[in-house]
Symmetry: C2
Subunit: 337 residues, 2 copies
DNA sequence: CTGTTAGCGCGTTCAA
DNA sequence: TTGAACGCGCTAACAG
């Protein structure tokens, strides 16, 4: 049935030399006779010899494979991030193993365990939203598997991470709206336990202050990112006696759902009510009325840089690597028309 | 620095038994003394022993890893398909290695080679658009690596594939429009070399015939899937003296771009001109005027079934597997608003 | 019930 | 310039 794959032994047998000679010849080892080398290489080519990487993985204790664990691929942010990871990995002869946590800690643990057992050389993670303990990551130190966190980052000492600072972009968003004359600017924030929410809130308030707009607790609401919750948040906002004319939304999905709600209440998007959002989904290109501006978080670059960092840790043979936190700056991008 | 991982040998040494005894005890082999078994398992637990999968991979010549190669993750269709693949794989203790071809044959070849070298147990592929030769896939037979194609499938004898037949859905789309009273129904098709294009064209014509609408060559145009090309196609359609009132678009991206163009020409979507499309992007939920209906192709299910099929081939020890083509039926889904 | 032996494919000493 | 021997961690065939 299946042709048996040629091995070094096989070549050695046919040529009446030893396996180690073949191995050396294949590696262009300097101390091998030209004649022998040629013979070996010729036969190797003829037999279509290819080294069995698994044997080498095994022997070297390295797999040239890294793992990527994140909540779900179907979110554009993540699939674009994976592209960045994969691009750098491929360029540097690394392979990429994937797993989706679906924002569930148990599943995340399970995946990390499986990956650890198959001896990945490193791991890139965007932590699940409901993950509360991080032992499954810290545990990887015992196996000498470095971890780089990106996007959703835990509070851990000495960790490696790539993230995007939202302060600047968020403040720019508030500036942007204020310059357009808005005085009543609301914030639909995400779940409290997320870093990302705290960042947005802080920057939002700073932005208001900078623009001399008085903050109003009634204009700060939150969503758990479900559609229903966002609708409820919108309902709440529109009931305020002096309702907002502009809204900073946690991300594009939230913005889009908020817009739907606003439309259902006969508000005209970008006229009666304006939006600034996060993430910059490509699909917004197709909307009749996209958010006026979006805080770009550079998922491709985050992924790429995360892989780059991980690579530098893995290949750091002298162990002089220090924990590194890379922080990119977010940037406000007005929609092009 | 790094704690050395405990091995079977180590456990054996400490307990003064042989390695194979430990191995058997760990596997609950029936012929092992209860006492020994307990001892071994206790010590294993204490030392945090975990088997080194790479050793087993090596020894068994299996990696419990499959590869997935497709054009790009950032297209929703593909990222959803991967989710299906990953779900089935995880359930069955398989891992998933990924690669993006970016629709480029050379890159595709490269990825397949790398994956082959690391001895994946099987491969799932959606072929790159510009792939013209398939040796890199047929070559895998020599390594006993089964391939399952999905979505974009080559014309190869004896292949395994999962695909979605568009005939039914497309015809239903034409029916749908005809029932709404449309007589001038256009088709914006994709590149000629794609199967998918031929399928759509055939079904479109059949649909017209069924509804007793005379076909008009001027209403069949094509796009290379670039925005510019779609705009050109639209321009062409709108110049026809009796222009279409409805359009069947190659996919949602094409539809969305076509809509943009139509809007720029002051046409009102779903009033002056209606759309039926393919793929059913989740983002359409957020459009003010989504296509009236979409031909659903079930990417999650395609991915899931592809992995299921691959799994059955891999685990078919008696080699009684026959090449299998699974064809799902597409289905027209009207937008619920 | 348990130990011994061998081998998966390769790289790498050490010795010639 | 080459070969023999060893070991990576584990399983399995064979032998007690």
């Amino acid at each position: 049935m299946q042709k048996k794959l040629p091995t070094i032994k096989e070549i050695a047998r046919r040529l009446n030399v030893s396996a180690s000679t073949v191995s050396r010849a294949l590696h262009n080892h300097p101390s091998i006779g030209l004649r022998t080398k040629m013979q070996v290489q010729a036969l190797a080519k003829e037999l279509n010899y290819e080294r069995n990487e698994t044997a080498i993985f095994f022997q070297k204790g390295k797999t040239f494979t890294i793992g990527v664990v994140l909540p779900r691929f179907s979110e554009e942010f993540f699939s674009v991030a994976i592209s960045g990871i994969e691009d750098f990995a491929t360029k540097n002869k690394y392979q990429v193993l994937i797993g989706q946590s679906y924002d569930d800690m148990e599943r995340e643990k399970q995946i990390v365990t499986t990956m650890k057992n198959s001896r990945i050389d490193g791991l890139i993670v965007s932590v699940a939203k409901n993950t509360s303990s991080f032992e499954h990551f810290e545990n990887l130190r015992n196996y000498n598997i470095p971890v780089v966190f990106f996007d959703c980052i835990p509070d851990l000492p000495d960790q490696n991470s790539v993230s995007c600072n939202l302060q600047q972009g968020t403040m720019a968003g508030v500036d942007f709206l204020a310059e357009k004359g808005h005085k009543r600017i609301a914030l639909i924030n995400g779940p409290d336990q997320l870093h990302a929410s705290a960042q947005r809130a802080t920057a939002y308030l700073a932005g208001l202050k900078k623009n001399k707009i008085k903050e109003d607790a009634a204009l700060m609401v939150r969503t758990d990112l479900s559609k229903e919750s966002t609708y409820a948040a919108m309902e709440q906002l529109l009931q305020v006696k002096n309702p907002p004319t502009a809204i900073v939304a946690f991300n594009d999905y939230v913005a889009l759902e908020a817009m739907q709600y606003a439309r259902s209440r006969k508000l005209r998007i970008n006229k009666d009510i304006c939006f600034v959002s996060f993430a910059h989904l490509s699909v917004c290109n197709y909307l009749d009325n996209p958010p006026l501006a979006s805080v770009e978080q550079f998922p491709y670059e985050q992924g790429y840089r995360a892989m780059e960092l991980l690579y530098s840790i893995i290949t750091d043979t002298e162990n002089k690597h220090k924990p590194t936190q890379i922080v990119l700056e977010s940037k406000l991008v007005p929609w092009g028309n």
